[in-house]
Amino acid sequence: MTETYFTKEHEWVKIKDGVASIGISEHAAHELGDITFVELPQVGKTVKQFEVLAGIESVKAASDIYAPLSGKVTKVNEALNDTPEIVNEAAEDAGWIAWLEPSDISEVKNLLSKAEYDEYLKGLE
């Protein structure tokens, strides 16, 4: 079973079979507008939870993407190099940014569940 968590910085992470896939939420993609560039992390890079993992730019703004969990980058979504607009089309699916091998799965306690994230978004309106 896949579990999905969110950060207050609008990243999502799905954990399945010990692999964490990471991206930005549909809400974040919508807020950014047309996404024009994704700075993918290097495969092999290690990050700590909530450190800068990647960068994303839209016509309107440039933002950092933070690592929802600590770990090592094992794969990146190279399709985003030429077609970053995939993030607008499917932010929580085909628009994934990177895969991470988590070093401490208990860190999910610092993340929001889907229901908590939806509640958090309501508070932002």
Partner: protein, 363 residues
Amino acid sequence: MESLRNTPLLSRHQQMKALLAPFGGWNMPIQYEGIIAEHKWCREKASLFDICHMGEFLFQGDIEASGLEDVFTFSVKSIPVGRSRYGFLLNENGGIIDDLIVFRLAEDAVMIVVNAATIDNDFSVIQSRLKPGGVFSNTSADTGKLDIQGPLSRDVLVQAFGPEIGKIPYFKFIRMNILGVEAIVSRTGYTGELGYEIFLPAQKVVELWDLLLGDERVKPAGLGARDVLRLEVGYSLYGSDIDEVTTPLEAGLGAFVNFDKQFVGREALLKQQQTGLTKAKAAFQVSSRRAPRHHYEICSEGAAVGTVTSGVFSPMLGCGVGIGFVKPAVATVGAPLTIRHDNVSMEATVVELPFYKGGSLRS
């Protein structure tokens, strides 16, 4: 702080679920369906822009006797009736108070079209430079302005209002009856595409908006797309690229300054020509899809040499493009630059404007 002003089209923008944001003191549509989709539509079809926020002044009287000839960097009296001219209102130091267009309506009448944020200041500056005798008025509140821009804009207007519009050359205009009122249809714009600016009484703007959007070749575009469109062809944005501490010479816009006549700021510009520039405009193309942005630092060989004033991802070029002001020595075509901001760094090369050369502007 003054409250934001709305154009007559607010309800239309809201109906279309436009994203509205403050611009120059106005609550303006930034985007409808999306900046890139709107940009593409304008480059390929025809886009309609609500530009009612911009200012319009009328001068009626003897132009020679009024002193109007000495107010701007270009000659007003030599503009033929039915033509318009772009240039600047400068301060004594040669800094740009505004960039604007003067339309010669008649032998004894001109319309001056200015930026939204500068309306009040422009009006008082111009008024202070005029001699008594003529009638100078701010007609901004009563004047509506819609821009229709894009390669199909001529076909759309000809179909809607007749063949006369199809014959207007670039930087010429006609006065004609539209929807039962007198309008000015000008072959000018801010996109690099074939296009028109239509001035008409504010109370008719909604009707014209609805009429033009009834043509399936026309879609609305917001200020977001407008900014991408103008930057791709290298047009300056007042308040970002040019301002009161930037001269037309520094901004590479000396072509719009006529030194054969008097104007406020002339002495300062002549002096600047002699002593040389301390900053110069540079246009640059980034080696990736990353966009340079306003206030990013420009570096050359490791040293800071200037600041980005406008930057964007160019959908037409598929890379970041920007303009900024740098030490004149590095403002040379082909020179390599690095654009920096926090942990972001991008390589760029100085290029000639326009970035995008395929526009239908003069077709």
